[in-house]
């Protein structure tokens, strides 16, 4: 069992191609790992049966026999799709998301559904209506969120890859807290067709793996123009591993975002680990400059407004009429809407919808939504200018290592501010990768972000891979798995 426990996709591809192991045997191995280990971390809402997994997938392709977990807001045809919510508890998806069908076409095996914060609203996977996922490094702590199930499963070696979704940091944040690699792609690079909408102007599918190369392999399979999603970029399929291992271009300029690294509330061990990572990257050929990005300080406030406003609109479709939960005791249509949405949505989802409608309502829209749109535009221009002066940015992903389950039950603002360092990239639409750079004195992972300009994933991967290959964080795994 242990030979394959934390095997990478790249290694697994070689073993399957060399017929050392069959796709069926690989699948049996990982299903067994879920049976044995998932009771301690609760990463999956469901693990499917072997027969239907094999039957639903293609027989050839670059990912033949490689199983992965999909966050439960990504449609898989014929499978339950809950988004972590009671309002969709028994809903069965009638179609595959584009990312699902592209992965199946490459022979990948969809092993199950990953737990998540309800409708991706949260930073700890605690708002899931069904279960709370635990961090494999310390099961009293959260895995981060909202893609916590996907991240925990990869960190515990229960699958070599998983998909999550990003709206304000929901792939990078759990990646950092679980000690793995998490990508938020350029907005429009990966199709949102079949990704349940939260905030449509920032939503993107994200990728979780234990290594940078594995992340690039999955991106290569799913990125590219999609006829079903008008917001996708005119980008043909390409091999995102092409630059890995090649020397960095001479004098590559990397900006360290000082007002992020030295922000109030960032744990001193996080700062120390990131400073070490910066000096490693500098030794490997990068030209480091320290910069300030003032609009970054307003990213969270802007994100709170824009995302909740869009969520209020996107979640209006859950009304008990055509699918999902319906409150059957209501006698009028209006009561049916109001009671269904009360019974079906948890506290956090209801609060965010109310906030969203507040910031859009007459008398408040100018102060909140219109101003947020202006600041967002200013942020885009600031980043455009910045990437004329540097090639990449480095900054924290998260303020502190994983917190205890329940720590922010009475402090929603502090929970929401977990998005502080990640949400700017979602607002601006630029790519960012979180990868591990250390461990805290309490044996919890520390991560940092490499941020690039529009469609700079290859460069981000190249620098991240260079760092990864001269450090050992990607080889560290939680005990007991």
């Amino acid at each position: 069992m242990s030979l394959y426990s934390f095997i990478t996709i790249a290694e697994l591809q070689k073993k399957i191609a060399a017929r050392e192991i069959t796709p069926q045997e690989v699948l049996e191995f990982y299903i067994r790992r879920f049976e044995v280990f998932d009771q301690s971390i609760d990463s999956a809402l469901e693990v499917f049966d072997k027969e239907s997994i094999m039957q639903k997938s293609g027989n050839s392709g670059s990912l033949l026999g490689i199983p992965g977990l999909l966050k439960d807001n990504i449609c898989q045809q014929g499978r339950t799709l809950t988004c972590g919510s009671k309002i969709l508890e028994h809903f069965v998806s009638p179609y595959d998301a584009t990312v699902t069908s592209r992965l199946k076409a490459e022979g990948a095996l969809m092993i199950g559904r990953g737990n998540m914060d309800e409708f991706a609203m949260g930073s700890s996977t605690e708002t899931s209506a069904f279960k709370k996922t635990k961090n494999p490094w310390n099961t009293e702590c959260v895995p981060g969120g909202s893609s916590g199930g996907s991240a925990a499963a990869v960190a515990a070696g229960l699958v070599p890859w998983a998909l999550g979704s990003e709206t304000g940091g929901s792939v990078r944040h759990p990646a950092a807290l679980c000690g793995i690699v998490g990508l938020k792609p350029t907005y429009g690079l990966i199709s949102r067709y079949g990704l349940v909408a939260y905030a449509s102007s920032t939503d993107q599918v994200g990728i979780l793996t234990t290594t940078v190369r594995d992340n690039a392999i999955i991106l290569s399979a799913i990125a590219g123009k999609d006829e079903h999603d008008a917001s996708t970029i005119q980008q043909e399929k390409k091999d995102y591993t092409a630059l890995l291992g090649k020397p960095l271009k001479s004098g590559i300029r990397i900006g360290i975002v000082e007002n992020a690294l030295n922000a109030e509330g960032v744990d001193s061990e996080v700062v120390a680990a990131i400073e070490k990572a910066i000096s490693v990257i500098e030794k490997n050929g990068a030209q480091i400059t320290r910069i300030k990005v003032p609009t970054l300080d307003y990213a969270a406030a802007t994100y709170f407004i824009v995302s909740r406003a869009e969520a209020a609109s996107n979640l209006a479709r859950f009304d008990g009429v055509r699918y999902g939960l319906r409150n059957k005791s209501a006698t009028t249509l209006s009561d049916m809407y109001c009671n269904t949405r009360h019974d079906g949505f948890g506290q956090e989802v209801r609060a965010r919808i109310l906030i969203g409608n507040y910031v859009l309502s007459a008398g408040h829209a100018a102060q909140f939504y219109n101003n947020a749109q202006k600041v967002r535009e200013m942020m885009k221009r600031d980043f455009d200018k910045l990437f004329g002066e540097v090639d990449l940015l480095i900054m924290p992903t998260h303020p502190a290592p994983a917190f205890k389950i329940g720590a922010f039950d009475d402090n929603k603002l502090q929970m929401d501010l977990q998005d502080y360092f990640t949400c700017a990239m979602n607002l601006v639409g630029i790519p960012a990768l979180s990868l591990p750079c250390g461990m805290s004195s309490t044996n919890l992972p520390i991560g940092f972000q490499i941020v690039g300009s529009h469609l700079s994933e290859e460069l981000i991967f190249q620098v991240a891979h260079t760092y990864e290959q001269v450090t050992e964080w990607h080889t560290k795994h939680p005990e007991g798995f």
């Binding site: 009638p94 209020a312 249509l333 109001c338 009360h342 609060a351 947020a372």
Partner: protein
């Protein structure tokens, strides 16, 4: 474009933090809950008001930063992307299979308008 400095932005925010707080009353919660078509019980209202107040007070700082730029300087541009104007048919049974209540090809819902209204 740069007619502000980092220190200027920071000082405006610190100033406003002392004077500007969003107040959310229980009536506000009831009104927004009606707009949102979400029932919030009387027991749930105080906690909801507190959460809304906390988040909105923090978020209100966007006004500080936006005021550094006059309207003339900021144009929020959108772009329209259209798909081909072709109708796509989906099998109605597939869609109706998820219906909480159906009759033939209809979704059944409670009464919308009473007779005589």
């Amino acid at each position: 474009m740069e007619n502000y400095s980092y220190t200027q932005a920071l000082s405006i925010r610190k100033l406003n933090e002392r004077f500007f707080m969003v107040h959310i009353t229980h009536d506000d919660v009831r009104r927004i809950a009606r707009l949102s078509h979400i029932h919030v019980s009387e027991e749930e209202t105080p906690k909801m008001a507190q959460q809304l107040q906390s988040i909105l007070s923090y978020a209100s700082r966007v006004a500080d930063y936006a005021q550094l730029y006059s309207d003339a300087q900021i144009e929020v541009k959108g772009s329209v992307v259209l798909r081909p104007d072709v109708s796509v048919k989906t099998d109605s049974d597939t869609i109706l299979a998820a219906a909480p209540d159906r009759e033939g090809n209809y979704f059944v819902v409670p009464v919308i308008v009473e007779a005589g209204q």
